[in-house]
């Protein structure tokens, strides 16, 4: 069993490898995205907490990010601190968060396009990430179905 899957790719997530300040800026942007429509569903909260966990922030930084959920920064403030890899990973995960409740509304879409533009990404970057996210959610759903089938 283990031998067959020895070529399983290593987790390609690199958020936890970013410098501490960049991980904080990444998480701050996600806090902004979480509150963009003034609603925070359990799906969004779970996704936010998951990404916050991955970022391996210090307890003090976590407190600051949770405070940012209550009083979100502006998008401009978030973007000032973001560039390069941290920015791209933040956009990727912002797309996943925006889609976590099943729809991406206009405000979320505008913010995603603004982030992409700030990072100087190609015009179709958000569309491609949304397509990728849909595939990922399909994979997650298959995982739930697989889990259900284990009881049969």
């Amino acid at each position: 069993m283990g031998k067959k899957r020895a070529s399983t790719p290593m987790l390609p997530d690199t958020v936890h490898k970013l410098p501490r300040e960049e991980r904080f800026a990444y998480a701050r942007l996600l806090a902004y995205m979480a509150r963009i429509d003034n609603e925070l569903t359990i799906d969004e909260m779970a996704m936010f907490e998951q990404r916050l966990g991955t970022a391996l922030l210090s307890p003090n930084q976590r407190d600051m990010i949770r405070a940012a959920l209550k009083n979100p920064p502006t998008l401009e403030e978030c973007l000032e601190e973001l560039s390069g890899e941290a920015g791209r990973l933040a956009l990727r995960d912002a797309v996943m968060m925006a889609a976590a409740d099943g729809t991406v509304d206009e405000d979320e879409r505008d913010a995603l396009e603004d982030i992409s533009e700030h990072l100087g990404l190609s015009e179709d970057a958000v569309d491609r990430l949304l397509e990728w996210t849909v595939k990922g959610y399909r994979w997650m759903k298959e995982g739930y179905e697989l889990l259900d089938s284990l009881g049969e």
Binding site: G2, A6, T8, V15, G120, D124, A125, G136, L150
Partner: protein, 142 residues
């Protein structure tokens, strides 16, 4: 990942869940940063209380025995653990013999056959490939 039935579980069950994941991650030796990151992500997704997370982190150096974490849990809960343990075990790129042994112990506790466990590991590999495609999209867009 979307939340699932995990968020409706008791704080005590969620601590057991996280402790089992720590055991799996540590099965092949000392915990590395990649493994800690995925455990923290799983605890976040399950929305484990911050104080409970402190309890779980205390086991990073000396994990709680797997059998102790699994004791008296219902099969649905054990299967959640199995799914996420498979994700954690894959984080460093391969399933170590000790990780496979631990996954089999969890599968047995959850009444999951070897064939079903194999299907679960295939699902994990597909997910890793999907995630990697996200990184490739970002690189192409830059």
């Amino acid at each position: 990942m979307f939340p699932d039935g995990l968020v409706h579980r008791s704080a005590q069950e969620l601590v057991r869940y996280a402790e089992a994941l720590v055991y799996i991650a540590a099965a092949d030796g000392e915990l590395v940063r990649d493994e800690i990151a995925i455990i923290e992500a799983m605890m976040g997704r399950a929305m484990l209380h911050p104080e409970s997370r402190v309890t779980v982190r205390a086991g990073f150096e000396q994990p709680i025995p797997l059998e102790q974490s699994l004791a008296d849990l219902d099969q649905t809960m054990v299967r959640y653990i199995l799914r996420d343990a498979a994700l954690v075990a894959a984080v460093d790129g391969a399933y170590d013999t000790k990780e496979v042994r631990a996954l089999k112990i969890i599968a047995k506790a959850g009444d999951v056959s070897t064939q079903q466990l194999s299907a679960l590991l295939d699902w994990v590999a597909e997910g890793w490939q999907w995630f990697e495609q996200g990184t490739q999209h970002l690189e192409k867009s830059a």
